[in-house]
């Protein structure tokens, strides 16, 4: 009786796992941005799901059973890397017991491999400097040029897993890169009038964006990455913002508003809550939507300020 039930469950499970030949490739990404780019490159060949929502801080997650479950079924697992997901991805991958997506396997992709990271510490780091990332700043998807690099990496992985669909994937990637170039010209045009505008950001997460679109980040609300602001730091920051005439305080939706609001009252700079990811605000469904939204919000805020 018992053995029969066990056999039935086992056979059932085999049926459940195996018929992948016709189904789309199951891709699991750590963030919505990666999922959006996978959709562009993979089209109907893939079924993609992100482990975080666009409103979530990807630094702080736990290896929840639901994440393990998703990873256990994936054919391809993609992460941002550079230490962004170090607190949860390793535990998820071990618990998922899916040989296809273990680091080193063809179904595992760390898209930072070809990225040239900014802010690689030039001297030895330790945690007195806060949450420093020894491999460099991991918020690189906020530069659309890096979006192109990410799409190339994703295409390479998809082609190795779906060799007979290589042509389509390659075409999709090229088309994505072309549209990105086109959009880039548009975004740069819009941001041009505000070149070198001085801003403060909450976390050092807008470095890549600022560099690409010519914003000048003069300071951070956090004294060190991941470290809560002290009164002494805020006093210094207020003085600095006044001196530099900083116009905006940019923060992600998951940071508390009270400190930015205080800075705003003290300096007259405006607080701007910006989503760093696809899905961070309703309506941002693609990688293009994200930068359209960011350009909209920034140009509006900066034009009022000037």
């Amino acid at each position: 009786m018992m053995t029969k039930a066990v056999t039935a469950v086992l056979i059932g499970s085999l049926l459940f796992v195996n018929p992948t030949w016709a189904a789309p490739l199951r891709v699991v990404t750590t963030t919505e941005d990666l999922a959006a780019i996978v959709r562009e490159v993979g089209g109907p060949l893939v079924e993609v799901e992100s482990q975080t929502r666009g409103t979530q801080d990807p630094h702080f997650l736990e290896a929840r059973p639901s994440l393990i479950l998703k990873a256990s079924r994936a054919d391809l697992f993609i992460e941002i890397g550079l230490g962004l997901e170090v607190g949860w991805v390793p535990a998820v991958l071990v618990a998922a017991r899916n040989p296809a997506i273990q680091p080193g396997a063809s179904g595992y992709l760390d898209v930072s491999r070809d990225i040239k990271p900014l802010e690689i510490p030039s001297a030895p780091v330790d945690r007195s400097q806060g949450d420093v990332h020894p491999l460099g700043n991991p918020h690189y998807w906020l530069d659309p040029e890096n979006g192109k690099v990410i799409s190339r990496e994703i295409a390479r992985s998809l082609m190795s897993l779906l060799p007979d669909r290589s042509q389509v994937i390659e075409q999709n990637q090229k088309e994505f890169a072309r549209r990105l170039d086109e959009a880039m010209a548009r975004w740069k045009d819009r941001m041009k009038p505000y070149e070198a505008a001085k801003v403060v950001t909450y976390h050092n997460s807008w470095t890549y964006f600022a560099r690409r679109f010519g914003l000048d980040v003069v300071g951070y609300v956090e004294p060190k990455p991941g470290v809560a602001p002290s009164p002494a730091h805020l006093n210094q920051l207020i003085a600095l913002m006044k001196q530099e005439k900083a116009k905006l305080i940019i923060m992600e939706p998951y940071f508390g508003r009270s400190t930015p609001d205080l800075l705003s009252r003290e300096t007259g700079a405006k607080v701007l809550v910006l989503p760093p990811s696809v899905g961070g605000v309703e309506g941002i469904k693609t990688y293009f939507d994200l930068f359209d939204y960011l350009a909209d919000q920034l140009t509006t805020a900066l034009s009022i300020g000037s």
């Binding site: 256990s72 991805v89 535990a91 017991r97 040989p99 030039s122 030895p124």
Partner: protein, 393 residues
């Protein structure tokens, strides 16, 4: 004799850490650094005040005297071994009540990564995956001390021994995991089973220790566990488990122990949480033990107990918690078998992910002390240096 060896290991490992960090820092040879194991050292200390000199904290890693306790100095090493497996080791150093330094091989095990059909094997020395609290390392506890019922049934250091474990994640659309393990039933970390003479004497002073040979499969310790999880929304996750333990015990030639446990964990965290806050987490665990003492079933020991705890991360880096406990072994004179109630509120502050400060108060009522209230206050702190450990759920 372990001490010099341990010191050497430390010197060697920290040399490696410094080297690894230097390499990371210059960014010159990141490839090399990837070959070093992840290394971390966790220190867990407590200052305690007990209203009575004979306190009721019997856990091996509990604050154990008025004054200071080194609860746990844990060296963790882990790395992938090859494309097929990873290995983890947790070596513990602590100073006991008598001031003796004690070295424990808490865990050292291999985990397979490449088995088909969602199977996973674990082999080595490991915590039995019974319930929630038993496999949790002391520095990851939400309270300063071990729950009473876990202390009584699973032992002051938790239930762990060399053995092998297999687990299977089902392909069902929800999370369902089956775990089975077989481990040695003897030694001081298996007090409800074959134990050893010293641990047995401490745990069951009224019984006599029977030396039993291990000849048959029935002489080993078996565990089965069913774990399921349910995710009603992006912000809530609920985990339930049922575990059973079966193995021989040292009170007779043919006596066995059975322990059953039910556990629940639920966590709510909004999607816009910053640094993991705010959150609410509830955890509960109930356990039953039947300990056969002889042919006469009337003499068998029956124990039961539970703990319920709630945590509320009410502000960034701040957590307030409350735990209530009950245990009863039906022996009104035995400190490890009487009826016992304990309530523990606490407040924890995390300066960062890598350190914590915790203030906890215990009010304790034990039947063998005529239900007189005992009080205890703990101030605990923890530091973690080295590799960033993954957060378990």
């Amino acid at each position: 004799m372990f001490r010099p060896v341990f010191c050497l290991i430390f010197v060697f490992l920290f040399h490696s850490v410094v080297e690894a960090q230097t390499q990371q820092g210059t960014g010159s040879r990141p490839g090399l650094q990837g070959l070093n194991p992840e290394i971390s050292l966790d220190g867990l200390f407590a200052a305690a005040y007990f209203s009575e000199p004979d306190n009721l904290n019997f856990g091996g890693h509990d604050p154990n005297q008025t004054g200071f306790t080194l609860q746990n100095l844990e060296l963790t090493l882990g790395a992938t071994v090859d494309p097929y497996a990873r290995a983890d080791a947790h070596i513990i150093y602590l100073i006991d009540e008598e001031g003796e330094s004690v070295l424990e091989v808490e865990e050292a095990y291999l985990t397979t990564l490449a088995l088909p059909h969602r199977l996973q094997l674990v082999g080595g020395q490991f915590f039995t995956r019974f319930g929630r609290i038993n496999p949790t390392h002391p520095h990851a506890w939400d309270f300063t001390d071990q729950p009473v019922i876990a202390n009584r049934l699973l032992g002051p250091d938790g239930l762990r021994n060399p053995g092998a474990q297999i687990s299977w994640l089902s392909p069902l659309p929800f999370y369902l995991e089956l775990i089975g393990s077989v481990q040695n039933a003897g030694g001081e970390t298996a007090v409800s089973f074959l134990s050893n003479p010293e641990a047995f004497e401490e745990t069951f002073p009224d019984l006599s220790f029977e030396e039993r040979d291990v000849r048959r499969f029935e002489d080993l310790l078996y565990m089965t566990r069913l774990k399921t999880a349910w995710t009603p929304s992006d912000t809530v996750e609920l985990v339930q488990g049922f575990s059973g333990l079966f193995g021989p015990n040292a009170s007779g030639k043919d006596t066995y122990t059975k322990i059953f446990g039910l556990d629940f964990y639920g966590k709510w965290r909004p999607l816009d949480a910053h640094g993991g806050f705010p959150f609410v987490a509830l955890q509960a665990e109930a356990m039953w033990r039947k300990y056969e003492t002889s042919e006469n079933s009337e003499d068998n020991l029956h124990d039961r107990g539970l703990y319920l705890q709630g945590l509320w991360g009410f502000a960034s880096r701040w957590v307030v918690g409350l735990r209530g406990e009950y245990a009863n072994g039906g022996d009104e004179t035995d400190p490890l078998g009487d009826r016992r109630y304990r309530i523990s509120p606490n407040l924890t502050f995390y300066p960062s992910e890598f350190s914590k400060w915790r203030l906890q108060y215990n009010v304790d009522r034990a039947e063998h002390l005529d239900d007189k209230s005992l009080h205890a206050v703990f101030l605990q702190f923890e530091f973690l240096i080295g590799s960033h450990g993954a957060h378990q759920f």
